[in-house]
Subunit: 300 residues, 4 copies
Amino acid sequence: MTRLIDNSYGKSEVRLTKIVRSGSRHTLLELIVRVMLGGAFDRLYTEGDNSLCIPTDTMKNTVFALAKKNDFASPEEFGRILVHHFLDRFDHVAWAEASIRESLWARIPVAGTPHEFAFTSGGSDCRTAVVRRERGGELELSGGLEGLAVLKSSGSAFEGFLKDEYTTLPEAGDRIFATSIDALWRYLPGVAKELSGVRAGASLGSASRAVDFGALFAEARSTILEIFATHDSRSVQQTIFAIGEALLERLPSIASVDLAMPNQHRLLVNLAPFGLDNPNEIFVATSEPFGLIKGSVARG
Amino acid sequence: MTRLIDNSYGKSEVRLTKIVRSGSRHTLLELIVRVMLGGAFDRLYTEGDNSLCIPTDTMKNTVFALAKKNDFASPEEFGRILVHHFLDRFDHVAWAEASIRESLWARIPVAGTPHEFAFTSGGSDCRTAVVRRERGGELELSGGLEGLAVLKSSGSAFEGFLKDEYTTLPEAGDRIFATSIDALWRYLPGVAKELSGVRAGASLGSASRAVDFGALFAEARSTILEIFATHDSRSVQQTIFAIGEALLERLPSIASVDLAMPNQHRLLVNLAPFGLDNPNEIFVATSEPFGLIKGSVARG
Amino acid sequence: MTRLIDNSYGKSEVRLTKIVRSGSRHTLLELIVRVMLGGAFDRLYTEGDNSLCIPTDTMKNTVFALAKKNDFASPEEFGRILVHHFLDRFDHVAWAEASIRESLWARIPVAGTPHEFAFTSGGSDCRTAVVRRERGGELELSGGLEGLAVLKSSGSAFEGFLKDEYTTLPEAGDRIFATSIDALWRYLPGVAKELSGVRAGASLGSASRAVDFGALFAEARSTILEIFATHDSRSVQQTIFAIGEALLERLPSIASVDLAMPNQHRLLVNLAPFGLDNPNEIFVATSEPFGLIKGSVARG
Amino acid sequence: MTRLIDNSYGKSEVRLTKIVRSGSRHTLLELIVRVMLGGAFDRLYTEGDNSLCIPTDTMKNTVFALAKKNDFASPEEFGRILVHHFLDRFDHVAWAEASIRESLWARIPVAGTPHEFAFTSGGSDCRTAVVRRERGGELELSGGLEGLAVLKSSGSAFEGFLKDEYTTLPEAGDRIFATSIDALWRYLPGVAKELSGVRAGASLGSASRAVDFGALFAEARSTILEIFATHDSRSVQQTIFAIGEALLERLPSIASVDLAMPNQHRLLVNLAPFGLDNPNEIFVATSEPFGLIKGSVARG
């Protein structure tokens, strides 16, 4: 005897571009959306009974239609709209989750002025949101970023670590620290609650908004960059904690943050065979292997 | 006040090539290894105290050294060796996890005979294993594959699904079904136990092996291919369950299996504007968006 | 004063799937097509005059429509159809080029029999063709493959090379040779001529075919694999020449072949710090840097 | 009879990081270098005679050693150093080519001030240089950029194009124009000559520099962005020419420029089935197929 013990399905990589016009000034929103659903879908798997199956093609259409029907300015808000739609519309959906990546477009400066409708890349990273709700539960609301490339050529050491029979790494009082930062912060329940209360289809104008998610994202991103730059690092782990602490201190709306930072090694090249010394000048950048360091920091 | 609520770290993308020689016949094993550890590492994050920090560089060295010191023929066995090493060697490690991807190399046929030491790619997929143990707990042992590309041009339908105001998908009695299969099966506790009991450093010769993981993998892979080919599919979900059922039936050593199958759409091209009909002949292959369908099947 | 000195444009990554049914047995052709055109397009660039611009969207439609209207079994034949269409249809097109990659699908074996309509990946590589014609010139016709992954763990050396002040590489009497082979063979003018003569829109049935491109591809691919496996290699360069020679010997329809073989290094790991020797057993696979070796071999 | 009609080889993806310290202020240069050589290497291919083979491993070492021994501030200068080295050092090398991609790192702003040694990504694009010399010929010197992501949501049309039986594209008076720009400009012979004259190993201090390649790159990049933003585009082709014209006008050191701009389509979503109009608000971004538009503009 066999049984289905877990299932979920959805549509991934729905690439939505939305242009909002205010006179000749355009606002550009480019999102890559994943919607996943769980619920009473067992007979779909076990019997081939599709009567309760919401096609993933319909999910895709829903993303585009709801993007047209609603006013929103952040992946958090659009995620909330999507999650509520599927739970409100279908009784047999037990939970819904929207995972969104937003491209960071920046206005092209022309003669010192940001252009009204022309954009270029605003960073190596993308902005993210994960919004989830189980029927009857609270809205779980997270925002973040992925792939923020940073490198510092000083202010980073790694010394005093444990040595065993397989250790060959020399102590380093001054090393290059290069990484690509992923962060995902969980909002306080009150923020999610306030966002949930906004009437579906209503304009989420700045007046009615509990949190200005755009301003919060900008503050989070600049905090991460600043702490990375200025923290006197004894390890990637210690820098993760320092960044987490600073985010919680500066962003009163968040409850916790998950951080992941791969250690993208720059290895000192041995130039001695060529009669050259190498006082931290010439390195080889390696893509693999890499250290993968994770930490989660919360209030309390 | 802030506190560290979770942490883990390790080394990722350690690319190991091992050649085992039996006369002029070589066995080739190419693995990409990730090792992650958790435990009493808090002071590393909060104080910059590295005294208990096992460097990720040491983990990398350990992978290579243990690959030399031990005899093994599968990612499951090598994962067990790695996990046991870190738990046995360091009291402050609370759990260890090895995630391994193995390249599928096949012997090049020369005049009908498989060559002794020359190989070519044996598939689009890679073989995988995830091995984890918490101190004091049982070994959790999984094997699987990732990225098995398949396509069938008949024997697949999608009809009778739920329609709502956002549904435009037509019913399809005969459609192309293309996907890239990921599967991860959990071994029964007895298999993991027997594997754990093998003395560290000892040869895991075929005589002493509880399970022939290589034969099991081959059986699992051919089962997945066969069921995909022959199952009369009413949905991706139903095919997932059918594959899961067959794996549990044919592989007595496994307890459950997780399956994920993206629906890589081939869309019928509208040739009517050119005065041509298109009776399921000409399709456009799309890479995004895609349906993402998941299911887990277990005994009992 | 400035002037346009060169221009070309086209459509890339047109992903075509074609199913040909013979009773319940299906033939599957999956091609990724690029069409590029050159000609009297200057005013498009310099004046914004689009009157002679064939939109790339039209090129995409043309790929799908011609795939429906014509019978073909190889990327070479379909490339010829496309190139002829654009030259025949538009007097202001001076040259047309089709570059095609074909996925290698293999029938899934079920109980030892290849399935009629279910397929899995047939290799890491893809089959390719490049077809080009300048107005008034001969058809230039090439076929090939890209990304054929191979590795041999013996039968490869690299010794006796030039040493200078920057050389640290030790001589290697027995090393791993891993690469990903790209080959592109140019057909003899007669083959291209005969293919060109086939009436447009006519069935390219096996009877009328000058060359069985499918059989030729299979012969080329197995020759490459066999020579790679059996050639006693003193360098990647020497193996390239050996493969080129064998292709010219076995394939009377081709005039020359271009080969490119990146040297994907497997580096012997130094295990001496751990008290272990390493007689060519444990290697680290590296993705960069890599040696890039190219050679072209012709008759005569 | 067969013969080698062409050959070249080299080392690719050599990832060099160089830190130059001026007190506590660091300059960071991250380059990915490819070196290719041609010359009297035939016996390497045809005879397996390695006596004239400069190993690619030596090329890699040479990149690191010359990066240490020389002062340079641009990929153009480092490319010149590499190319001259191989031609000067080895009589049997007939030509040498260095292709370099430089990561764009920008100083992290801390309290409004650019940090002395901490950096984040400065754009989606990378800076490039291609430097080549044939023995006895002039230095051929090019600089450029690759992957500059831009999008404008107005100021772009595509109308009045040729229609044939396969055209379905509607005329568009106002469309989204999204692309990723590649540009490669050829310097005037005088610039290359002056750079060539700099004594090998000498400091290429700003005083002795014929061209400030860094300032030129910044000017080129901002010109491309500005013209993209402000040009009233009737086609991608016309915008290419407008960018080329502006580059030649503003950069007196360059002779010509090659531009390539894929048309990364944003397609208007049909919302009519949902009772919604869509006045250029909701688009789907597609990754394939894409238009590929190229043009070269020169003086004279």
